[in-house]
Amino acid sequence: MSATFTDHQAALRDEVKKLLTDGSIKGFIGYARGRDSYHPVPAIVTRPDQVDGLILDQFSIFGLTKYLLDYIFEDGKMGIVVKGCDALGLGRLINDHRVDRNKVHVVGLPCAGVLNGEKVAKLGLGKVQRVTDKGSAFLVEGDKGSKELPKTEYLWDKCLWCENHNPAGADTLLGSEVENVAMKPRDFSDITALEKMPSAERAAFWTRQFSRCIRCYACRNVCPACNCRECVFDIADPRWVGNTVKLSEQQMFHFTRAFHVAGRCVDCGECERVCPMEIPLMKLQRKLQKDVIELFGNPKPFVPSEVEVLGQFRVTEDPEEFM
C-alpha cells in the first residue's frame, strides 16, 4: 500500500511554484483536468499563478517527455513530472542527444501503477472524490458510487509487468520510492500466437489493422524513440515513401515507424494508447522486442543504453543465418 498520486498533488504544486518563482525553470510540463475525472490532459504552466491548475491523480498515464523537444532551442530549463516508464522515455531522448539533461528539472513520481481511465469511466462511479491504494486493488470513491478495483484488471497492461516503478535520476522525488516488483512476468504469448498463424491469415490480419490508419501521426508524435528532427513522412515529396492513406503506403508507414524504433523502443505503450483507430501497435513493438531478446541476448532492450542493439554487433556471438 503506497501513497496515491493525489497525495503528492500539493507537494508538486509547491515545488513548481518555488521553481518558477526563483527562476530555476521557465515552465513546467504536467497534467490538468480533462473532460472528466478519468482523463487528465497534458498541461504546460509558465507562471506561478497558473500552478494551481496542475493536478496529479491516479489516471495520469500520458507520457509527457516528447514535449521537451519543443524547448530544446530555447534558453533556460523546463520542469517535467515523470513516472518510472516516462523516465525511460526521457532516457531515450537524452541518449539520442535530442534533450540536454542539464536543461531539464525532473520531478520524479514513484508509481504503483496507473488506472486505465477508459475502463474505470465505464463503471458509472461519477466524479471521483478519492482513490486509495489497498494493496492489490485501488478503492475508487465517486459521487455516484465506489468500488474496489483489482489492479490486475484495471491498471494499464504495461503496469502489470513494469519493473521500473521508481523514476531513476530525478532531481526531486515526490514522496518515497515504492516497491519495485512486476505484478506478472512479461508475456509474449499473443505475439507467439500471431507468429503461428498461417502467413496468409496474418497478412489479412495486418491489412485489417493498417487499412484503418488515418495518418494522424499521434503514435509518432507521442513516442520518445520516434524523435528525428525531420521525419521521412513529413517530407512533401518523398518519392518512394508515400504518405497518403492507400494500403501500400500504410504498410510502408507501419513497417517504417515500427522498425525505426526497433531496439530503441522503451515499451511505454503510448503509441497504441493514443491511436484513435485502435490499431494494436504494441503487437509490432513487442514482436521486435521479443526477437531482440532472443537474437541478441539483451534481456531488457527497453531500458535505454549508450549504444542500442542495431548500433552494435558481436562478430562471433551474433547468430549467423545467411551463409
Partner: protein, 162 residues
C-alpha cells in the same frame, strides 16, 4: 531496368492483397537483388564471365555495401512488383568497409522476421553472403530462389495499391 521506372508492374488488387488468384499465363517470377559492389556484384559478374547458367529472373541493383540496404528498400521492391528479394554482401570479416555487413546481419535477422510477421511468405526474402569468387554460389542462390518463387506464385501481399 531500374525499379523506379514508371513502367513497373501493374498494381495488385486494391482491397484485399491476400486473395489467392492463380498466376497469369506465362508468368515468370521477378527477383530484385541488392548486391554489394565489392563482393556479390563481382560474384554475379564472375558467374556471367564464366558462363555459369542461372535464371534470367533477377534484376541486380548495385549498392556500395550490404550496410546500405535499408530494409525499406525490400518492402518497396515487393510493393513495386518483386516476387522475391535477394539481399547480398561480403562474407562476415570481408566487408570492404570492415563492419557494414555485421550491422546488416543484425538488421536483417530482425527485419526478415518482421517482414514475415507482417504476412510475407518467408521464402520470398533471401539474405546471403556471396563473395567475389563465388560465381557458382550466386548462380545457385538465384536458381533456388527462382524455383521457390515459381512454386509460391506471384507475390500479392505487399503490392502498390491505388
Amino acid at each position: 531496368m531500374s525499379v523506379n521506372e514508371k513502367a513497373a508492374p501493374a498494381a495488385g488488387p486494391a482491397t484485399n492483397p491476400t486473395t489467392a488468384t492463380p498466376a497469369p499465363e506465362g508468368w515468370e517470377p521477378k527477383i530484385i537483388g541488392f548486391a554489394c559492389n565489392w563482393c556479390t556484384y563481382a560474384g554475379a559478374d564472375l558467374a556471367g564471365t564464366s558462363r555459369i547458367q542461372y535464371p534470367p529472373n533477377i534484376r541486380v541493383i548495385r549498392v556500395p555495401c550490404s550496410g546500405r540496404i535499408n530494409p525499406q528498400f525490400v518492402v518497396r521492391a515487393f510493393q513495386r512488383g518483386a516476387d522475391g528479394v535477394l539481399v547480398a554482401g561480403c562474407h562476415p570479416g570481408d566487408c570492404h568497409y570492415s563492419t557494414g555487413n555485421y550491422f546488416a546481419r543484425r538488421r536483417y535477422l530482425l527485419a526478415k522476421r518482421f517482414i514475415e510477421y507482417l504476412g510475407v511468405e518467408p521464402e520470398r526474402l533471401q539474405v546471403r553472403w556471396i563473395s567475389g569468387s563465388e560465381g557458382q554460389k550466386f548462380a545457385d542462390t538465384v536458381r533456388e530462389l527462382t524455383e521457390k518463387l515459381r512454386a509460391l506464385g506471384p507475390q500479392r501481399r505487399l503490392r502498390e495499391t491505388l
